[in-house]
């Protein structure tokens, strides 16, 4: 039977400080006044995810590959390269053969 839990989680609640911390970790600028609504959305989604706690996962290994297969190996040699122009072609700012970014070290 599929039922849906869409309420806020009783177990945990994300406050605006946590929302701000997550935004920072994700490197997405979120304005101060947008944080409460964002925290509320996180709570709705995490409340939904909370159902996973009902499942008995004792002794179950986390799934790591969809189809068990041995990854192919190859010689550790250069197979590609010499395409500086192509690599830089889509860069918003490229100079003298490099990607350009704002100053990182003073």
């Amino acid at each position: 039977m599929l039922h849906v839990f869409t309420g806020e989680s009783p177990l945990m609640s994300i406050d605006t400080d946590t929302a701000a911390r997550v935004a920072k970790l994700a490197r997405i600028k979120v304005e101060e006044d947008a944080l409460p609504a964002l925290a509320q959305e996180f709570n709705t989604i995490l409340g939904f995810i909370e159902q996973l706690n009902e499942v008995d996962v004792d002794g179950v290994e986390p799934m790591t590959s969809v189809t068990p297969m041995r990854l192919k190996r190859r010689e550790d040699v250069v197979t590609d390269g010499g395409q500086q122009d192509k690599v830089l072609f889509n860069a918003p700012d490229a100079r003298e053969g490099f990607f350009a970014v704002p100053k990182v070290v003073e």
């Binding site: 994700a26 995490l46 986390p62 918003p92 970014v101």
Partner: protein
């Protein structure tokens, strides 16, 4: 002939081979249809010159007797596929102006076979959405309407542009991609066929990544035979995708006998959902009956962890997305935000990603960041991966009992109106994928087949789920269902 765009792949292939029509004629008919269908907002980057050039080359190949199945057939390509020299931006602002210098393996396979690209198709941003409402290009619109109403309906998502274009006969078929249902849900919403093959069948190389352990490409077509033809061309072993399967690709079309006598079709009791419209339930029962009449044995089965598939998906997919989308940093490609005096590299990242990503993408990246962050990794991400293992085992258990395929509804409702879900919380939108998402988590092949109309005249679809790597058998079961259902309805042209 002015209605060449209404042909399917198999019909058009046969006409091309018989010399009844040329690829240039087919292509021109589609280009004309596209020009007149701006209201659907399905095609977002048109490539008419390239299409005509490819069509001329295909006509030469056909004349020379070197004509693979897809040769000369005009297609639409979802914007998620990187196409060399043609804008490919996953319907995102952050990839504004991005022009790949390489071709995705799937589109390369299609072009090597002589297929023609008409242009790129609308979709949800980074394939995150179920209604094509998160696209930077604006909504794609379904060619279908409820009775005489003028309400604009969703073609579904994320492959909404593909669904709309195929249903409206703007192309003969289209590519789609499916991470949680993004081929099957839109196919069901517009009354076409869509198959997601087994994970590993189609190379992911050159397809903009959303959730790498779930993403698979597949065809969206006017019928099951066309799906078999196009899927075969799309599939290949590709050393450039480490999860690509090193398996021979069968001739799927040759497996369409329509004979499913003695096949065991499972009906999972957990897909009986509270509040599901009676019409969906009735359609499911009809589907059961049709397969039974065709000689299949219908058995009740249980997939006990079904209800945990969506919550597991909404941990795993955002987690993988947050990792995959970390590459959009305003340095290597796409759009960089305008910076203020004194802004450093962190401000550049933060402003670029705030400006470039839409709301739903930002939300999922942040949810993914949260479930992967220190202290929550085990509680959320690892627990979801354990539940995923159980969901996969549910399927393995029923296949071990001899079940050949599983029949379910494709979607919990018919298409809804654009904007109708705007005020709902995000979880309500996520429910669209309730019947399809299990298949991605388990890596199985799944196909949506149109099977009927609801009381408002909108298409409804059924889904068949197959054993891993047995797309041929799955397509054959779908073919039997298609023949029994006899779905022929088309949207009335209003655009």
């Amino acid at each position: 002939m002015s209605d060449l765009n209404t042909l399917g792949l198999a019909e058009a292939r046969d006409k091309l081979r018989n010399g009844n029509v040329t690829s240039v004629e087919l292509t021109e008919a589609c280009l004309t249809a596209i020009e007149g269908a701006g209201a659907l907002n399905a095609f977002v980057h048109n490539t008419p010159e390239l299409a005509i050039e490819q069509a001329k080359a295909a006509d030469l190949r056909i004349k020379a007797g070197d004509a693979p199945d897809m040769c000369g057939l005009p297609l639409g390509i979802k914007d998620l596929f990187c196409t060399k020299g043609v804008p490919s931006q996953a319907a995102s602002g952050i990839l504004n102006g991005f022009v790949p210098g390489y071709e995705s393996t799937v589109t390369q396979n299609l072009f090597d076979a002589g297929a023609v690209m008409l242009g790129k198709l609308n979709m949800d941003e980074f394939a995150m959405g179920s209604s094509n409402e998160t696209s930077v290009y604006g909504n794609a619109v379904s060619p279908w309407r409820r009775g005489n109403e003028e309400t604009a309906l969703t073609p579904g998502g994320s492959s909404g542009g593909s669904a709309s274009a195929v249903a409206a006969d703007l192309c003969l078929a289209a590519t789609g991609t499916d991470t949680g249902g993004s081929i099957r849900q839109p196919a069901a919403f517009v009354g076409i066929t869509g198959i997601k093959p087994t994970y590993g069948r189609c190379s992911r190389w050159g397809v903009v990544a959303f959730a790498s352990s779930l993403d698979q490409a597949g065809p969206m077509t006017k019928n099951v035979r066309d799906a078999a033809i196009m899927l075969e061309t799309m599939c290949s072993h590709d050393p450039k995708d480490s999860t690509s399967a090193d398996l021979a690709v069968p001739n799927f079309e040759a497996m369409l006998t329509g004979d499913i006598r003695g096949k065991k079709i499972g009906i999972p009791k957990e897909y009986q959902m509270d509040g599901m419209p009676a019409e969906i339930d009735a359609l499911w029962a009809e589907g059961r009956e049709m397969l039974k009449v065709a000689g299949a044995e219908i058995v009740d089965i249980s997939l006990p962890h079904t209800k945990y598939a969506l919550p597991a998906y909404y941990v795993i997919a955002p987690a993988e997305a947050s990792s995959n989308l970390a590459r959009y940093d305003g340095v290597r490609y796409g759009q960089r935000a305008t910076l203020a005096q004194g802004d450093g590299i962190t401000e550049m990242y933060e402003k670029t990603r705030a400006e470039g990503f839409g709301h739903e993408v930002q939300r999922r990246v942040m949810v993914g960041t949260y479930v992967l962050s220190a202290g929550f990794y085990d509680a959320y991400y690892n627990r979801a991966r354990r539940v995923r293992a159980l969901i996969k085992k549910d399927f393995e258990d029923v296949f071990a009992q001899g079940v050949d395929a599983i029949l379910t509804p494709a979607t919990p409702s018919a298409a809804f109106g654009l904007g109708e879900m705007t005020d709902a919380d995000p979880v309500k939108m996520y429910l669209n994928d309730v019947f399809t998402v299990t298949v991605n988590l388990a890596g199985l092949p799944g196909i949506a087949v149109p099977a009927g109309l609801d009381s408002q005249g909108l298409p409804l679809g059924l889904q068949l789920i197959g054993r891993p790597w047995e797309e041929g058998d799955l397509l054959n079961a779908a073919y039997a269902l298609e023949q029994a259902a006899g779905f022929v309805a088309k949207p009335q042209k209003w655009w």
